[in-house]
Amino acid sequence: MNATTPKLEISRRQFLVAGASVAGGFLLGLPGGGSAGESANKQIGFFVQIEPDGQVIIGSNQPEIGQGQRTSLPMLVAEELDVDWSRVSVRQMPLGIVKTDDGFAWKYGGQGVGGSTGLTDNWDYMRQVGATARGQLIKAAARRLGVAESDCTTRPGFVVLASRGVEIAYGDLVTEAAELPLPEESPPLKALKNHRIVGKRQNTVDALEIVTGKSKYGIDTFQPDMRYAVIARAPVLNATVKRFDDTAARKIKGVLDVFEIQGPAMGEPYQILASGVAVVATSTWIAMKGRDALTIEWNESPSVNDNSDDFWRENSEMLEGDGQVVLDDGDFPSAMAAATKTVRHSYRVPFVSHAPLEPQNCYAYVQEDRCHIIAPTQMPSGASRAAAAVTGLPRDQIHVDMTRVGGGFGRRLTNDYVAEAAMISKHTGWPIKLQWSREDDIRNDFYRPAGIHEMRAGLDDNGKLTAWTQRLASASKYYRRPNMPDEELFGAELYVDDFPRRCIENVRLEYFHNKIGLPRGSWRAPAHTANAWVIQSFIDELAQESGQDPLQLRLDLYGEERELPYSNHGGPTFNPGRLSRLLKFVAERIGYGKSLPKGRGIGIASHFTFGGYAAHAIEVTVADGKLTIERIVAAIDCGFAVNPNAVDAQLQGGTVDGLSTALGLQITVKDGRIQQSNFHDYPLARIAAFPALFETHILPYDDTPTGVGEIGLPTAAPALTNAIFNASGLRIRSLPVSDYLKT
């Protein structure tokens, strides 16, 4: 994924600094750039604040997009600090950028959530912050009592000197603790078995605010003198404004300004996606009415001939020729020639949109020497970069505040809406909030890349798979990256170390790039959503056509537990045996192999995604052309579950996302126009699509947590389509399912 936020290279521990809070509390955190211990930086970068009354405020440095980071990361700090979780409140940190001699540093560590890395990147770091803070409190108590630090211990909120029966509340020690020098090394971390907070189910810290309507999202930003803006964007991909008439719009009371927004040149790296005309008004609704009243003439776009039908035909034609061989293990051609049975099928994966429920929005106030951004974003450093590019201001004069985010799914890794907002504020000089409509969102997205996957495999006399190829013709996500050579475009679409590499001897992967004009980007679990569906469908077909059991064939291929090298994101290793364990578990739970009535079927699938492992077993009924999902069993192995409640939620959500998308979603283009626009023609699944029999399981593995945000998604769709085949004999080789069955 493009989670490219720079990380502090040197040990973060060196940067821990203590200081006093405004309220007299104790703070611990990172100073900005430069050398450690600069006293001028005491007020910034703090993660831990203990007030004299014992309240603990823990900073969360990562964006909260619904994945639970605002709960999970402070849990890590609180565990090592040894405080009562119920006395902890959480504060959202802004983007922490500081100028250094040779560029910029990130005073709160890397900030950005993508690729299921939020927790794994901060697992050691946040625990060290907590352990160091606890160590300082112990040191302060030991000094006051005139004993050795080693004589003291803690219980939640107190330093304890057991030999004298003395306890001192953390709140009483904060002033002294804040003045003590920090250790060179972080104190040792707790053993997992001693955890009281981490590893236990904790509820979402913001749940009360959410259910009472108080939680603030980007869209809820209101600032002094703020105006409201919308943009009429080009209806055809890559079209530009020829001329526009704003007479009627300007007659609407409350419309303040109307002007052109210039989009990027076709194929060039972008700050924003589309050309258009901005309308600024005294309210969101008046801005929208002003937009409706515009008459805009557009120049003909180079993408005016983009059509989904042509795209699919071109991909098929490309597959007739030879592509770029990106992996060639063993001797694929000879193994295919020697095979006693060969199987070949093609699968089609459509473009899909992210559609986070909070439409894109951004507050921007560009002044001569500074810029303030308030945005729902997954990548605040990208927001800063976008605003800098638009305004020409130095990065350290751009202040980025993050709100709670109404869904991410990868869409808000890209900050095009931030750049647009900065353009409008720069042009008008006003603080403005840019608001997208749902139609703006569906039609101006960085879609999940679409493609045709041609699969071929050969089996020997014993039904053993000896040769395997995946030939993918698709529109690569990397298409618009600066300095990206064509031969590296495949890297976003085929992860070479994915299964079945090293589980089958002769494996070849081949890539063909189709340069359609649709923007593409990272969609939750990027290429895994396509490849898990294709690979797990094809395995099922191979089992069927060679008279083998789909579960047993997978278990035979995965084999025993062993670490295989894995160079793609989520490595450095992949253990296929962990997939076997999950698959056997879900199969047993759902009663795999039991006799089923006519029209009923069970499907299974398993996959390794970004370091984590997941499996699904799904039972369906197909009758009279209608599909009913009867039961869902999902399981995840994320190593160690920091907050099992959040892991469970992500597995449920990933399952729903995977199924909703497979059931009914696709983006198509006709004459350069995106044909979908809102939830009536981009029908996210509703509650009725999901059965009451919907269970999720966490299978612990070791002491190391993996991310969980994307892991539970990729296997849902193939388990579903495999179940449909098992129930009805209908093999779905092109998504969405709603093209074939009523859902």
Binding site: T204, A207, I210, V211, A355, Q435, E439, I687
Partner: protein, 161 residues
């Protein structure tokens, strides 16, 4: 000028009568618990009660609610420690992920449970149409059943709306 009651307070709006109630709530009254998701009544993030009935405020012109009584998520509970049973159930089951749709889900559920005090799963499937992009449906389903239990318990003791 349109006058209506909101969470037991009388308010008036002097803009165009075709302005959707949603945008009056959000931009004029700064009551931001009610969310904008689609603008065409599809997703339900903007669900409020008009005279006790769940309605989608993004497609309700403010003129249509003149002299009507509106309840929003902000007015559902008397206080944070006196939550509505549906909110309590949402907390117990820890339903929210991103949380953006949840105010609408809760407002829809309050109305739904008035009509189906002891709902079956089929009742839920046939009547609950709000979208959740994060996919919290499994917990929403459980929370609806739990809220029905809590409501039954509190109405038997004489409390509640």
């Amino acid at each position: 000028m349109t006058t209506f009651r909101i969470n037991s307070k009388t308010v008036s709006f002097d803009g165009d009568g075709d302005t959707p109630l949603l945008w009056v709530l959000r931009d004029e009254l700064r009551m931001t618990g009610t969310k904008f998701g689609c603008g065409i009544g599809q997703c339900g993030a903007c669900t409020v009660h008009i005279n006790g009935q769940a309605q989608r405020s993004c497609v309700t012109p403010v003129a249509a609610v003149a002299n009507q009584a509106i309840t929003t998520i902000e007015g559902l509970a008397a206080a944070d420690d006196r939550l509505h049973p549906v909110q309590q159930a949402w907390l117990e089951l820890d339903v929210p992920q991103c949380g953006y749709c949840q105010a609408g889900q809760i407002m829809a559920t309050v109305d739904f449970l008035k009509r189906f005090p002891a709902p079956s799963d089929e009742d839920i499937d046939n009547n609950m149409t709000n979208l959740c992009r994060c996919g919290t449906y499994a917990r929403i389903r459980k929370a609806i059943h739990r809220a029905a239990e809590l409501s039954a318990a509190s109405s038997s003791t004489g409390a509640r709306e």
